[in-house]
């Protein structure tokens, strides 16, 4: 029996956020230094299972992913399901869209629920910057592959003779963009400078992220969103006692070769982090039948990408382009939102995006709008802290944001929330949740 479709939308049923769970995020090389992606994803899943009584339950589908992924983890999510307390009859698939991975898993599963293909789903993501995959060099890889294909001993010997001493040095992953060789921080430094974002404004945003996250922990906001793991109970990057003065003492780390003064520090940039998060989604019928809460509806989402390779736009500016398209499709404006969750890859990313949406010329010429998109009320921005304070285990950030925003909407009891996540490769995803 299909559910009642809302009068304003197409006749599909609602997909609701039932709840979420994550392990506290730890700094790279910290408490989770020896935990694998699978370990952490299972820990997050098991916490979710315990919270919502899903032991042995067959979930419609689980979708998750990791950005830094070992090749042996080709079926990471399915393996995590097999290692979790969920029913082994639960199917799963992996998603990879750089830092937008987590949000994209929510969007994909919500769409399946809306179409009636599944009744329940768990979306999520995990990343370990500590337990990063290290690959053999291209030379050694070639030799090993050719060796495995060689038929005769002679061919095998000839193949091995092609090996050079330097081929034995391994390749570690980098945060550099493959096509430009610039790190993400160096790319953001270009954008930060182009929008003339001041050091003070970035430190101020970082400070608010820490104080908002600390306050959220203080009032128990995360008590049903986070499960301790490996002795960690709170995000290890959180500095509740930081101050604008302390942030002002940090030395710039990105943009030092630019003609403008460098403004990006370790304080207003996210650190490398380990962690995992998951979100339980379902149809209204599923939630009611299992006596589960319904925090928010997943309304809609939009992805965008920009040409940063040829210097036409900043690497992390794609959400700026996605948002007006999403708003237009849903006949909404910035004034229709009560919460804005803009992922803080760098303070400069958030502030450059805000500046772009406020800029009349930019919105006219680049976004094809009639004028500036509008201003976002800072009092509604990242009210429970964001990545600068919590840390940013790439694929786990989407799940953290969706669960936190759904809970904030549920607490308020009305309104809408907007999510914006930028990603490597010049990509970005934005999404709308609404309170029930």
């Amino acid at each position: 029996m299909p559910e009642q479709a809302s009068p304003t939308s197409a006749p599909v049923r609602q997909a609701v956020v039932i709840g979420g769970n994550r392990i506290p995020f730890a700094r790279s090389g910290g408490a989770y230094a020896y935990s694998s992606n699978q370990d952490m994803l299972i820990a997050a899943l098991d916490g979710l299972v315990a919270r919502f009584g899903l032991q042995g339950e067959r979930i419609g589908e689980v979708a998750a992913g990791a950005v830094l992924k070992h090749s042996r983890d080709f079926n990471l999510t399915r393996e995590a399901v097999l290692g979790s307390a969920l029913s082994p009859a639960t199917p799963a698939y992996d998603v990879q869209q750089a830092c937008a991975t987590g949000l994209e898993t929510v969007v994909g599963l919500a769409n399946k629920i809306k179409l009636g293909q599944i009744d329940s789903g768990i979306a999520g993501g995990v990343d370990s910057a500590s337990d990063a995959p290290i690959a053999v060099s291209e030379g050694l890889r070639r030799v090993l592959l050719d060796f495995s294909r060689a038929r005769t001993t002679q061919q095998k010997i000839r193949t091995l003779a092609g090996l050079r001493p330097k081929d034995l040095a391994p390749n570690a992953p980098t945060t550099g963009e493959p096509r430009t060789g610039l790190s993400m921080g160096e790319h953001q430094a270009l954008t930060t400078a182009a929008w003339e974002i001041s050091r003070e404004a970035q430190d101020e945003l970082a400070f608010r992220s820490h104080s908002n996250l600390a306050a959220a922990y203080e009032r128990g906001f995360f008590s049903d969103l986070v499960t301790p793991y490996r002795g960690v109970t709170k995000d290890a990057n959180l500095r509740a006692d930081t101050s604008l003065e302390k942030l002002a003492t940090l030395k710039p780390v990105f943009g030092k070769a630019l003609p403008t003064p460098a403004t990006m520090t370790a304080g207003n940039s996210t650190p490398l982090t380990d962690g995992a998060s998951v979100v339980l989604l379902g149809s209204e019928d599923y939630a009611r039948a299992h006596n589960l809460p319904m925090l928010a509806n997943v309304v809609d989402a939009e992805a965008a990408a920009v040409d940063f390779v040829n210097g036409k736009e900043g690497l992390l500016m794609a959400p700026v382009y996605a948002l007006p398209r999403l708003l237009q499709r849903n006949s909404l404006t910035l004034a229709d939102f009560d919460f804005f969750e803009i992922h803080e890859a760098f303070a400069g990313t958030v502030l450059s995006s805000l500046a772009a949406w406020e800029n009349d010329d930019f919105c006219r010429n680049q976004l094809g709008l009639e004028g500036a998109l509008g201003t976002i009320d800072r009092a509604k921005l990242n009210v429970n802290g964001s990545s600068l304070a919590a840390g940013h285990p790439f694929a786990a950030t989407g799940g953290r944001i969706v669960a936190s925003l759904a809970k904030a909407l549920s607490e308020k009891g009305s309104g809408r929330g907007l999510i914006s996540v930028c990603a490597a490769g010049g990509q970005g995803v934005v999404a709308i949740l609404e309170a029930r």
């Binding site: 430009t180 060789g181 070769a257 630019l258 003609p259 403008t260 040829n310």
Partner: protein, 339 residues
């Protein structure tokens, strides 16, 4: 003009070896070579491209291994034919120690890996340069009688000076425009073996690129990156797609010593109004005095075939690469193609 038909494309190592022997003979015998370009062209017909070698080239440049040839790879395939001409004992400029000043290429359509290439190379326009003498080498690649790729490479030799005449005065050193580095959009890192790796995929085993030792023997401080490696990388980034109706040029200013790092800026230089709906009025860092198309070769430059106006319906990317430490440009380039 007479023609030498090569039955197969010669290997470059042999050409370089002959060049060393020739240089030694010239030094000891002082054989006088006439200061005119030989009226002769070199031809190789039906040249095949090997898919595996093409793949290695494409992967080194970070390009998808398509079944069409990167425009810079066509240069690599045709290069030995041009080199055969330059290596002639009666060529006025000795091959060893020649400096590559730049290239201009026009390509009318994509070339498939399966196509047989007819390659013709000739030299022209021997002229004075403030630091020596330069010459253009023109290479034309045709498929079934239709030209598809035409390249003009400019080389400089410091050891030969043309007598200045009233008609052809020796050009003066151009006024130095101080180089103000633009905002980089990429960084290219070249390790110590970059020269050997490009040699392996391009076949250009010129000793100045291979090792510090072989480069020193030819008077360089260290080994240097192939100019065509820079050009190929520039193209791989600026037009990763099909290469139909492509024009590109590159001027080399200072060599990239290996290992080394090159800061690079790609700028969309499509004139506004060329393409509807894509104005570029957004926020960008102020242009910090890019010296435009700096002509390291002084007057004459590469004799660029590019019109200064980009025709409607075409997009243009300007590229500059420079050394961050020394704040000096390595190259400036331009890539123009159909939108």
């Amino acid at each position: 003009m007479s023609e030498v038909v090569l039955r197969q494309v010669p290997g470059l190592p042999a050409l370089y070896r002959d060049a060393v022997l020739l240089a030694a003979r010239r030094r000891f015998r002082g054989a006088a070579v006439p200061l005119t370009v030989p009226e002769i062209r070199y031809r190789a017909d039906g040249v095949r491209v090997e898919a595996r070698a093409l793949t290695a080239f494409q992967h080194l440049l970070g390009e998808p291994a398509r079944d069409t040839l990167p425009s810079a790879y066509v240069h690599a395939v045709a290069f030995p034919v041009a080199m055969s001409l330059l290596a002639r004992p009666d060529f006025p400029l000795p091959l060893l120690g020649m400096v590559h000043l730049g290239n201009t290429v026009q390509q009318s359509r994509s070339i498939a890996v399966s196509e047989r290439l007819d390659i013709v190379a000739s030299a022209e326009n021997l002229r004075a340069h403030r630091a020596g003498t330069q010459v253009d080498v023109v290479t034309e690649v045709s498929v079934e009688g239709v030209p598809v790729w035409t390249g003009r490479s400019v080389y400089l030799t410091r050891s030969v000076l043309l007598p200045a005449t009233a008609d052809t005065p020796t050009p003066d050193r151009p006024a130095e425009t101080p180089f103000a580095p633009p905002v980089p959009t990429a960084v290219w890192r070249f390790d110590g073996s970059a020269g050997r790796r490009y040699a392996a995929v391009s076949g250009d085993w010129n000793p100045i690129h291979l090792s510090a030792f072989s480069a020193k023997a030819l008077g360089m401080k260290r080994s240097i990156a192939h100019g065509m490696y820079l050009a190929a990388r520039m193209l791989a980034q600026a037009c990763p797609g099909p290469t139909d109706d492509l024009r590109w040029s590159i001027d080399f200013a200072t060599p990239v010593l290996l290992p080394g790092m090159v800061a690079v800026a790609f700028t969309d230089a499509t004139p506004s109004g060329n393409l509807q709906g894509t104005p570029r009025e957004g926020k960008q860092l102020p242009e910090s005095g890019l010296p435009g198309r700096s002509r390291p070769g002084g007057a004459g430059g590469t004799g660029s075939a590019h019109p200064d106006v980009t025709p409607a319906g075409r997009v243009r990317t300007d590229i500059v690469g420079w050394s961050r430490e020394r704040s000096r440009p390595h190259f400036t380039g331009r890539v123009e193609r159909s939108a």
